[in-house]
Subunit: 228 residues, 2 copies
DNA sequence: CCCACGTCAAGAGCAGTGCTCTCTCTTTTG
DNA sequence: CAAAAGAGAGAGCACTGCTCTTGACGTGGG
């Protein structure tokens, strides 16, 4: 392990600076990020950017990865900060943290969960960090099951579906009944829908009390998954 | 009322032809619609398009309007085709119709419910057609309430929210308790989330039986709104 | 009938985009 | 100290939305 050379440190700083400026452009100008505009802000020429990122998509991918991790950190931190015995409190805290992060970083949220850019295919690196929020939610359910505070749902899944979800249970490494995982995914789907509606402006201008509306809606889903 | 002149009829046909080709480009190339490419396909030069649409955004708006109406038609038709006494059947049919339309027209769905285009602001004309699917869902609940087949939820909404939702009830002109409307909106949010995840996300590659998964998820929401 | 008016399409051009290639200068390395 | 590698600048290609001008054509009124 040699000490990084001056050039290497400058390079790392440059990469960070490019990402910072790009993030700023993302927040102000929306999803269509212009490499040339970023370069202009940095006082350099557009072709110089290609020393650091092989293409615009790679820059976007780097931003997406960081955004997934930032969202995952926020959700997991909120869950960890709550009273671990209070399952419903943990669920609500995780959901609120996701919404708060999305409201604070709307353009990055749109990058993660908006319509996919036509030519762009997200690399596999993004799969794991993307699953952190739903995994956190399911983890709360697993904890509840383990501690006996959460009763599994009465129903079971019909067969072709049961196998799929059971496989997903194994993939996530969380020992919960398939029917419960399905309800947990319903909660995650609902959370995503709620945030997207609020952010993309499709939801009602007739609902001024957005915090209360959000809390009520995620409360409904907490009921659905069986949190007391 | 005079008969439209030959020129007017040719013009109307041209507008339709442009929209058709644009829709095709949308489906193949994704959201970034190129005016020049559309013009090329029509054997004309890009500037000629501006005789019919003042800008690219106006062409997009026309497509969005038609898409909203197509989706609304599909959902309402599915609801109307179901046995009107079978409330749960109507709910499921409406949801399935929305999904089917989205899967058949992914790019147009993305245009409607994906991340908003930065510079673009949807005109007010789009508000009414955009509300047709959720209004259809709530209409099912109202019918159930009127016929006594659906019991309103036990709970009531806490105060700041109750007023908001009550106002929304008035706005929609549907006489349902606020708590029930809130649950109906949860169902609509869930439906949007489900379709978006399936279309955009590569959530659940581990779920090959998508139809069954979808049916189960909307079934959960049918339970939540109280449909027997 | 005919001509002026309004519509239409084409072409050039402007400012912007992602990206490539070359050329030069500086830093690191053997 | 010389060779190799890295970094930035600049020109250029193909593309985008959009504007303006120019010339051709169909149509309705005199």
């Amino acid at each position: 392990m040699v000490a990084p050379s001056l050039r290497a440190r400058v390079r790392a700083g440059m990469i960070e600076e490019i990402k910072t400026v790009a993030r700023r452009h993302l927040d102000t100008d929306g999803a269509n990020l212009s490499l040339r505009a970023v370069a202009r802000d940095l006082g350099m020429v557009s072709s110089a950017i290609y020393r650091y990122f092989p293409s615009r998509d790679d820059l976007l991918t780097a931003l997406i990865l960081e955004a997934y991790d930032a969202l995952g950190d926020a959700v997991e931190a909120a869950d960890a900060a709550a009273d671990q015995a209070d399952l419903r409190g943990r669920w609500l805290a995780a959901c609120r943290a996701a919404r708060a992060w999305a409201l604070a970083h709307p353009a990055e949220y749109a990058l993660l969960y908006g319509s996919p850019v036509p030519g762009y295919a997200a690399p596999d690196d993004t799969v794991a960090p993307a699953q952190r929020p739903p995994v956190t939610l399911v983890g709360i359910l697993r904890d509840g099951l383990a501690s006996g505070r959460l009763a599994p749902p009465d129903e079971d899944l019909p067969e072709p579906l049961r196998g799929d979800v059971a496989e997903l249970v194994g993939l996530l490494g969380m020992d919960v009944p398939p029917a419960l995982l399905a309800r947990g995914m319903a909660g995650w789907t609902q959370l995503f829908g709620l945030i997207s509606f609020e952010l993309f402006g499709r939801i009602n201008r007739a609902l001024p009390h957005r915090d209360e509306y959000f809390d009520h809606q995620i409360g409904l889903m907490a009921d659905l998954v069986g949190l007391p």
